[in-house]
């Protein structure tokens, strides 16, 4: 029996759920926390789809599966389309009365990493959002192609070093800023869009529940700290995520009906981004004197974005 609202972390860590413990994700990977939270926040039946990526390769290696519910993976780019194909079939079969249990509520959820969401699957996601299917798309954003050894994606922040945007004697790492996927999804007219973080697990559970309850296409970007490619100790996943949300590198907020913006976590003491960057190997080179300007740029971008979020929250536009 899944719990519909998580009262404490002990309950969360010990309950039986539909995502089995046996998987091959890295120790310290935040993906499994996020997935478990989604699957625990509802008692409804779930049809899940996953794009190719860390989650997919770690949970369905024949003859094993970690999924105690319906699950499908087709390719790198099309989880949104796969799950909405299922959603459409559900509609028809419900109408015709050909389902095994015609009255049981079903929710449709697609998972993708940032590579498949921001880059290769962007068109498939956009199409599914535009068509207005009743489903939720959850991006597990670890800001790189972690499954293939840490290449840059359009979610990789400026200044991070990756295998295909390397820091070196003539480079400070990735030159381009991160794509603002949350705004892009809100601009699709999606009824519910949010950015959530697993350290703020109560707001995450609430956000997931809102998305599942909302009719129509919902999008949630989740911060998924990646010890392997961000380069930190696996035991520090939540600590790093705390730094991410407290420095406002990852602000936690939701946008309802494309305009009603609510900030869901407001740090008491906003932490300088330097502390977040300094805790990860992928930003180490930024602390050389010649790269200081990149840290300043990141900080100034964060400040501007936070200012914008607060103004939008106030203005309701």
């Amino acid at each position: 029996m899944a719990i519909t609202s998580i009262k404490n972390l002990k309950e969360f860590s010990t309950n039986n759920d539909r995502f089995e413990g046996a998987h091959t994700l890295c120790p310290g990977c935040a993906h499994s926390m996020i997935v478990r939270e989604l699957m625990n926040c509802t008692d409804d039946n779930l049809v899940l789809a996953a794009n190719t990526g860390c989650l997919e390769v770690s949970t369905a290696v024949y003859p094993y599966t970690s999924w105690d519910t319906s699950w499908i993976h087709i390719g790198f780019e099309n989880a949104a389309t796969a799950v909405t194909g299922s959603e459409v079939m559900h509609k028809v079969r419900k109408r015709k009365g050909t389902l095994k249990d015609n009255d049981a509520p079903v929710k449709f959820v697609a998972f993708g990493g940032d590579g498949s969401t921001f880059d290769i699957g962007f068109q498939w996601l956009s199409g599914a959002m535009e068509r207005g299917h009743d489903f939720t798309y959850i991006c597990l954003d670890n800001e790189n192609y972690a499954n293939t050894g840490g290449q840059r994606s359009s979610a990789t922040p400026i200044g991070a070093t990756t295998s295909t945007a390397q820091a070196g004697t003539h480079s400070y790492g990735k030159k381009e800023k991160k794509k603002d996927i949350v705004s892009i999804m809100a601009a699709h007219g999606a009824p519910y869009v949010a950015q959530l973080a697993p350290n703020k697990w109560k707001s995450m559970a609430k956000g997931f529940q809102k998305a599942l309850e909302t009719e129509g296409p919902c999008f949630i970007n989740t911060v998924s700290a990646c010890c392997t490619e961000w380069r930190f100790d696996p035991k520090d996943t939540i600590h790093i995520t705390d730094l991410a949300t407290d420095s406002l590198m990852f602000p936690v907020y939701e946008i309802i009906e494309g305009h009603e913006l609510n900030i869901l976590y407001r740090p008491k003491n906003v932490m300088p981004v330097e502390e977040y960057l300094n805790a990860q190997g992928r930003y180490r080179h930024l602390f050389k004197p010649e790269n200081k300007h990149v840290i300043e740029l990141i900080q100034s971008d964060i400040d501007k974005y936070w200012d914008m979020l607060q103004r939008r929250e106030e203005a309701r536009v």
């Binding site: 290696v61 559900h90 028809v92 079969r93 050909t98 498939w124 199409g127 068509r131």
Partner: protein, 410 residues
């Protein structure tokens, strides 16, 4: 309940319309589609049947053919009847997911209106797209006219969804020549059609939560080979089911289809073997040649996958010279169909002369005169006792003759 669609005993339909009526009568639950010439009317019509209540289904227009097949996979894994249509570039864009659909053993029916692959861009019919699908793990059957496009689309659901088959199936027709040529078509009544096709039996249904299923698992060197071998075996084992469904269809309609069709082959010395509408042209040419005293025949491959190797060998067993026609650019090799027919004949006791004709690319007309010329050339080979030309020739090409590959048998 769907609104009744009035049908006459005899309708005048083109291949596209005929295929779309088969989709309606088969009570297809979901069509996920993206438009592309010349296949567009098939899915447009399905959409209009939904819009006007002639079918209780869902029509989903997506943003690309890749997404169309991806949506079909999600829908098909959810237990209902699924179909779509495409051509050419759209087929090429689908290629990745075609393999996924067959690997997951999902009985999707794809109507492929054959069209050339760019570049140069071309909207006319050739078989480049059909050839692109030949290793994709789908069953492939070919319709040569509008009646057949209708008949075989109905048969395809029954074959693909058969619990012992459970493989996706393509129904091919030639772009424009079949898809846009209106002819007399004799449809079944709605009742007779759905009784013939039957209801789909959901297997490994994602919407049956009493028995969770994982679709699209990963296998590496430990299991991948076994999965692909099983898939190949399933394709090979589908032959008796295909034959049984075609036989049942004949009983119902009187219209007979075989995986390999033969025309005037009983005593033929020379034969043209081909795919698609080419066959009807070759049949007229063969009749003309017989009036001139040449024992000419035609062999048509209706079922391209599984490839009917034994049936091809049987059909051609007494032939002295065979012209194998490929309507796809061979890209630096013999035509793919030539290679497959050659494999059938090399493993027979009769080792006839075999040559390859590349023809009709990008919709270039394949004329009766050209087919007659091919027959005459086969007779010249027989008289000489060996191939007197290049093994591979481009037929119907402008400018000087173009041929490749020489034989050692002279």
């Amino acid at each position: 309940m769907a609104v009744k669609f009035d049908l006459n005993e005899r309708e005048v339909w083109d291949g596209n319309y005929a295929a779309s009526q088969a989709l309606r009568q088969a009570d297809v639950d979901v069509v996920v589609a993206y438009p592309i010439t010349p296949s567009t009317p098939i899915v447009e019509n399905y959409g209009s049947y939904v819009a006007n209540g002639y079918i209780d289904g869902e029509f989903v227009m997506v943003e690309s053919e890749h997404a169309a097949m991806s949506g079909c996979i999600g829908a098909s894994a959810s237990g209902g009847r699924v179909s779509t249509a495409t051509s050419s570039q759209g087929f090429a864009l689908m290629a990745e997911v075609l393999y996924q659909a067959s690997g997951m053993r999902l009985p999707i029916v794809l109507n492929v209106v054959n069209r050339a692959l760019a570049s140069p861009l071309n909207v006319r019919g050739d078989h480049a797209d059909m050839y692109l699908g030949r290793d994709s793990g789908w069953l492939q059957i070919g319709a040569f006219n509008a009646q057949e496009a209708y008949d075989l689309a109905l048969c395809a659901f029954k074959i693909a969804e058969n619990p012992s088959v459970r493989l996706p199936m393509m129904v091919h027709q030639d772009g424009f020549i079949t898809s846009h040529t209106a002819q007399n078509v004799y449809p079944l009544s709605d009742e007779a059609a759905i009784n013939f096709v039957g209801k789909i039996q959901p297997i490994d249904d994602m919407l049956d939560f009493s028995r969770p299923v994982t679709y699209g698992a990963q296998t590496e060197e430990d299991w991948h080979f076994e999965h692909k071998a099983k898939q190949h075996k399933a394709i090979m084992d589908s032959k008796p089911v295909i034959d049984a469904v075609l036989a049942e269809f004949k009983e119902l309609t009187g219209r007979e289809y075989k995986r390999v069709e033969t025309y005037d082959m009983e005593d033929a010395d020379v034969a043209i073997i081909g795919l698609g509408t080419t066959v009807e042209t070759a049949r007229v040419a063969a009749k003309n040649m017989r009036e001139k005293g040449v024992k000419a025949g035609v062999v048509a491959i209706r079922c391209f996958r599984p490839f009917p190797l034994e049936e091809v060998r049987e059909a051609l067993k007494n032939c002295k010279a065979i012209a194998v026609t490929d309507r796809s650019s061979p890209g630096g090799a013999m035509g793919a169909f030539f290679n497959e027919v050659s494999a059938a004949m090399y493993t027979s006791t009769n080792r006839p002369i075999i040559t390859n004709f590349i023809y009709g690319l990008g919709g270039r007309d394949f004329s009766i005169a050209e087919a007659e010329r091919i027959y005459a050339e086969q007779m010249a080979h027989i008289e000489a006792g060996h191939i007197t030309t290049d093994i591979q020739q481009f037929s119907g090409l402008r400018g000087p003759k173009l041929g490749f590959f020489r034989t050692e048998r002279s």
